[in-house]
C-alpha cells in the first residue's frame, strides 16, 4: 500500500495525480485505465477542495491498494462531512445552456470506476474508488 498526504489545496492536485499515475504504472494497468484514474482523481479532489473545507485548511490523503487485477484508491480528508455522491447528476438530455455545471465531475467518477463508495468515519470523509482494465479499451 502506498499513501500520500498533502494539504487540501488545489496546488496539491498535480502531485496527487503523479502519485496515482505511478500506482497505475506499478500495477501494470493500461494507459486507458491510468487516464481514467487521473481524471476521476482530479474530479474527486477538486470537489473535496471546493466543498469540504469552507472553514479553513486541512489535509487529503490518497492511498493505493492492490485489489486483485485492479486497484482500490482511497481518498480521505478531514473536512466537513461531504458526500460527493450526493451531488446531483447532470441532466445530459437538457439543452446545452442548462447543462449541469457542478455535477459533471461526479458523473465522470461514477462512469469511469468499477465501484465507488463513500463513508464518513468519525472526523474524516472516505471515498473508495475501484479501477481495473476494461476490455473495451480500444
Amino acid at each position: 500500500m502506498s499513501i500520500k498526504r498533502l494539504p487540501a489545496r488545489h496546488e496539491s492536485l498535480q502531485e496527487f495525480i503523479a502519485f496515482i499515475s505511478e500506482c497505475a504504472e506499478d500495477k501494470g494497468l493500461s494507459d486507458e485505465t491510468a487516464g481514467r484514474m487521473e481524471l476521476v482523481l482530479e474530479e474527486a479532489l477538486v470537489n473535496i477542495f471546493n466543498y469540504a473545507f469552507p472553514l479553513g485548511e486541512g489535509w487529503v490523503e490518497v492511498s493505493c491498494v492492490d485489489d486483485g487485477p485492479g486497484l482500490l484508491i482511497e481518498i480521505r480528508d478531514n473536512g466537513i462531512s461531504f458526500d460527493p455522491l450526493s451531488l446531483p447528476d447532470p441532466d445530459l438530455a437538457s439543452d446545452a445552456s442548462d447543462r449541469m455545471i457542478g455535477g459533471l465531475g461526479v458523473y465522470f467518477m461514477r462512469k469511469m470506476t468499477e465501484r465507488i463508495l463513500y463513508h464518513r468515519d468519525g472526523e474524516t470523509n472516505s471515498l473508495t474508488l475501484g479501477f481495473t482494465d476494461r476490455g473495451d479499451s480500444n
Binding site: 481524471l39 482530479e42 474530479e43 477538486v46 445530459l92 446545452a96 459533471l104 465531475g105
Partner: protein, 110 residues
C-alpha cells in the same frame, strides 16, 4: 498547457497542447475572453496536441459556446486524441460542440 493562436480565413485557431485541467483551464478561459473582447466570433480549437481534459476544461468550452451563440459565432474542435474524445463522448458534449478530424475538414463544412 500551451496555446498558440493563428488566423485562418474567418477563423481564429487556438492550438492547445498539454493538459486542460482544473489548474490550467483558467488560462484558456482568460485567453478566450480576451479574444472575444476584441470581437472574435469564429473559433477553432486544434486539440491535436492535447493529452488530457477534465470537466474543468469542458466547462470553459461550453461557456465559450454559450457566449458565442448570441453573436452568431461558432466554436468547433479538431484533432481530438482518443482519451480526450472519450471524455467528450461520456459527457455527451460531442453532441453539443462540433468535432472534426482536422481544422481543414471543419472549414470545408462551415
Amino acid at each position: 498547457m500551451d496555446i498558440n493562436m493563428r488566423k485562418e480565413g474567418d477563423f481564429t485557431v487556438f492550438s492547445i497542447s498539454g493538459r486542460l485541467d482544473a489548474m490550467t483551464s483558467p488560462d484558456l478561459e482568460k485567453q478566450i475572453g480576451e479574444w472575444m473582447e476584441k470581437g472574435g466570433t469564429m473559433l477553432a480549437m486544434d486539440m491535436a496536441g492535447l493529452d488530457y481534459i477534465s470537466s474543468a476544461g469542458l466547462r470553459i468550452i461550453l461557456a465559450a459556446a454559450k457566449k458565442l451563440r448570441p453573436k452568431d459565432g461558432k466554436i468547433f474542435l479538431a484533432g481530438l486524441k482518443k482519451p480526450v474524445m472519450e471524455v467528450f463522448k461520456i459527457s455527451g458534449f460531442d453532441a453539443i460542440i462540433p468535432i472534426f478530424d482536422t481544422v481543414e475538414a471543419a472549414r470545408e463544412k462551415i
